[in-house]
Symmetry: C2
Subunit: 248 residues, 2 copies
């Protein structure tokens, strides 16, 4: 089963489109481990996947990450490494092989790398390993408009925005999904129209960054990425539950 089926099935089983960004504030490794396990346990009934970033990967290393991924899989969740990988091909390959071996089902990649000697070896490795690649299409923060929103010249004879080119590339690369900020529902809608129902759309920025969960889903997002408003709460399970109920 490929990543798209895996995470769609998790969403179905859990009845939730919420991907938890397990982004904890810096702390000692032992405390981070305990807090991550606790947040995961509290929220697991209300989410379909978990996304890890440098917040845990750097202090814990992959050996410390593995038990968290095992627990997540045990709770029926998909696991995404959100590292926005964007290096030369040989480095992307080495990094991805470590992430996949540690148990991640998919990772995020930056389209700025391009294909030849950039993301091509990464996609090849992911295909062989049955893992997913999610490409950044338009990030959630204000500064993203400076770059993803740039007007580019002469592409297929008409002006186009850089994010639209990234979406075309992701389609050509047969990416499993796109990251499109929940803060930009109009962009989500336009991208959904272009890519059709096959491509997964992940919308981060719900909560702390001001994205509206319902608007993002109505615009065509498949998954909502929610981090700080859940993980920094005193009762993360209760917050995740309320968010899920509000969506229904």
């Amino acid at each position: 089963m490929g990543f798209r089926e895996l995470i769609r099935e998790a969403r179905e089983n859990k009845g939730s489109p919420i991907v938890l960004a397990l982004d904890l504030r810096p702390d000692k490794p032992s405390k981070l481990m305990r807090k991550a396990s606790w947040v995961l346990e509290e929220t697991a009934p209300y989410i379909c996947a978990v996304k890890l970033n440098f917040h845990l990967i750097l202090p814990l290393g992959l050996s410390g990450i593995r038990p968290i991924l095992d627990a997540a899989h045990g709770a029926g969740l998909a696991c995404i490494a959100d590292v926005k990988l964007g290096d030369i091909g040989s480095t992307n390959e080495v990094a991805a092989s470590y992430f996949f071996e540690a148990g991640f089902d998919a990772l995020t990649a930056s389209p700025l790398s391009g294909w030849e000697g950039g993301l091509e070896p990464l996609f090849k490795l992911a295909r062989e390993a049955g893992k997913g690649i999610i490409v950044l299409a338009y990030m959630s923060h204000p500064g993203a408009s400076e770059t993803f929103g740039l007007e580019i010249a002469g592409w297929k004879g008409k002006y186009q925005r850089l994010y639209e080119l990234f979406v075309e590339k992701a389609l050509n690369w047969n990416a499993d999904g796109l990251v499109v900020g929940a803060t930009r529902p109009d962009v989500i809608r336009a991208i959904r129209e272009r890519v059709g129902p096959g491509m997964l759309i992940f919308a981060p920025g719900v909560g702390f960054q001001g994205g509206d969960a319902r608007a993002a889903l109505e615009a065509g997002a498949d998954f909502l990425i929610v981090g700080r408003s859940i993980v920094l709460a005193d009762e993360p399970g209760r917050v995740a539950k309320s968010l899920l109920e509000a969506l229904k």
Copy 2:
């Protein structure tokens, strides 16, 4: 002393513009530690800095990286985390605080993040900590031309390439350095003309990727990033020494 002074001084003291990319092939953590220490010891007299990427950061974690950075500093080398950081601001901050705390003197960042809520908090943190930020201007691999080489529309009233916009941004952000592939000496030359002598230019892609070391320096690069042709050699010290002698 800021990062620019630090690495310029190391280059002066060592009489070498070579930054070693300590990119080892995947292996067990204990073997990677041994090999990294050995390569560093053998090559230290012929290099001025060391650059670490996911090849070591993922399997060793930051606690395993620290002794390598200590040894590098002890040998008079600057230390760069080449992670092409390009996330939202809060994540960039957390990641950078871990990297700087572990002992890195600088890190690389992706301009795709833009400023507001993207790289701004990262630069602020680096300034406060006296650390450096090196921005990707034009990567070394073939696929980079698909993106960094893109023609953009309507920017200051004239057509321009995306990499030129990244260079303008890096100047406005007061970045310490730029990454420009040694595989593109003409681009190095054009960028050096634009940025003047204050901005550091790091040129990766020498050796395995086909970049010509001497041509990159003559075009205006301050530093050559060399990885596999040194670290995968049977005698890394001898290869580093030969490369340095060939430059003189």
